[in-house]
Amino acid sequence: MKMKTISLFTIFLFFILSCNNEIEGTYYENQIGDTAYNPNTDNKDFKFCDSTNVLHKRALIKYNGGEKALEAELLNKFVFNPKFEHFSGYFIVRFAINCKNKTGRYRLQTLDSSFLKTKPPNQLSEHILSIIKSLNGWNHPFYKGKDLDGYSFFTIKIINGEIQKT
């Protein structure tokens, strides 16, 4: 009898849990792109000025001197390594900026030349990440008269292990 009750309870519990998961494996932040702090990868000193109002308006976040200056800095800091040579593709770099122009929460996506998900050489990813973390010409969004936090992204194109001017 006791076993039967436990079995029924288990089935009931399974049913309830299934109902709560609207679609299996799907989880969404409040807004696509909201990026939670990851203690393993993120700088603990990076803080939003107001975490309740972080803009998803890429056009409002600009680099000093524009895309030209950004690319020039990337090219200038990039050091080619023969281990990178076999990689051609794209790094999509997402990041957050706070109202004091500090950046953090960097996330990378890597795609091959056909825009399929791919895995680049580890040293290349680490090198790209260290360069983008060193960029300090970003400007926070100024929106409706307020200095705000925001999220942005940019693309880095690589052919045969070398960053390309786009």
């Binding site: 679609i23 932040e29 696509i32 792109g33 890429r58 030209k68 770099v93 999220y151 693309t155 786009t166």
Partner: protein
């Protein structure tokens, strides 16, 4: 062009106020109808919000052949740097209805700097018998101009020029020209070292829209290459003045953008 902009503004206004699809075209109680209604519901929430994405998921589960839900769900991913997620969804919409979504995928390929894939999708699209005129989501450029610019980005200036000329020749009146179309044509002529044609196209651009600083810069380059240094200097200075003008026109999706530093450098080299 003004008429086009007005019509586009009207559509953008409508799309913000109402649904973009008419769910009544699907039979009552059909999976597509239910998916359509759920997608409509999703649009009532902020784009990219958890609420809207969950409703699109429901729509896709109920009506997996309802292409529009995949498309709408993909948009915030593209806008926020989640290319892999965006493409996964939009590819489904393209598979279901290539005529409606190929050009849109091409636009994002262009945005994420993959000119080869942009060209591939647009060539496929324009080869379709029912292909019709498409503009960038902001409405500022015919997608054939983007195709021309994408060819140029891969170094094929001749094909880029041919594509833009074909586009401009297809318009019935000059009112249909975009605010920077002749600028794009002129830039490609400069890149292709056809300086006389470049000057002609860029001067025409100034008649259509005189507020683009970049046009004067490229005009200056063309004159410089023709060794008319006096006129080159004049145009570079015009570029600088326009650049500092608060009413200057911003050429979105320019492809070959000019920066203040480029203009200053050009002036300095001449002095």
């Amino acid at each position: 062009m003004k008429t086009t902009i007005l019509i586009l503004s009207f559509f953008i206004f409508c799309s913000k106020s109402f649904s973009q699809v008419n769910c009544y075209i699907y039979p009552e109680n059909s999976r597509e109808r239910k998916a359509c209604e759920l997608s409509d519901e999703a649009l009532k929430y902020k784009q990219g919000s958890k609420e809207s994405q969950l409703l699109f998921d429901k729509a896709i589960t109920l009506g997996p052949k309802f292409h529009w839900a995949y498309y709408e769900k993909s948009v915030p991913y593209f806008k926020r740097g989640f290319l892999i997620e965006g493409l996964k969804l939009l590819n489904e919409a393209v598979k279901l209805k290539p005529l409606d979504y190929l050009w849109y995928r091409a636009y994002w390929y262009w945005q994420y700097k993959n000119n080869e894939l942009c060209i591939k999708d647009l060539e496929t699209y324009y080869a379709m018998p029912k292909a019709y005129i498409q503009f960038t989501p902001g409405g500022e450029k015919d997608m054939r101009i983007i195709l021309g610019l994408a060819y140029a980005k891969t170094g094929n200036y001749t094909k880029g020029i041919e594509t833009i000329l074909n586009c401009l020749n297809s318009y019935k009146t000059e009112d249909d020209f975009g605010f920077a179309d002749y600028h794009s044509l002129g830039v490609l002529y400069v890149k292709n070292k056809q300086y006389d044609k470049a000057i002609k196209a860029l001067k025409k651009q100034i008649i259509i829209n005189k507020d683009l600083a970049d046009t004067y810069y490229y005009l200056g380059i063309a004159y410089k290459e023709k060794l008319d240094l006096k006129e080159a200097k004049k145009q570079f200075k015009n570029a600088l003045l326009k650049f500092q003008d608060t009413n200057k026109f911003i050429n979105i999706n320019a492809g070959f953008k000019v920066y203040k530093s480029d203009i200053l450098e050009a002036i300095e080299k001449l002095e």
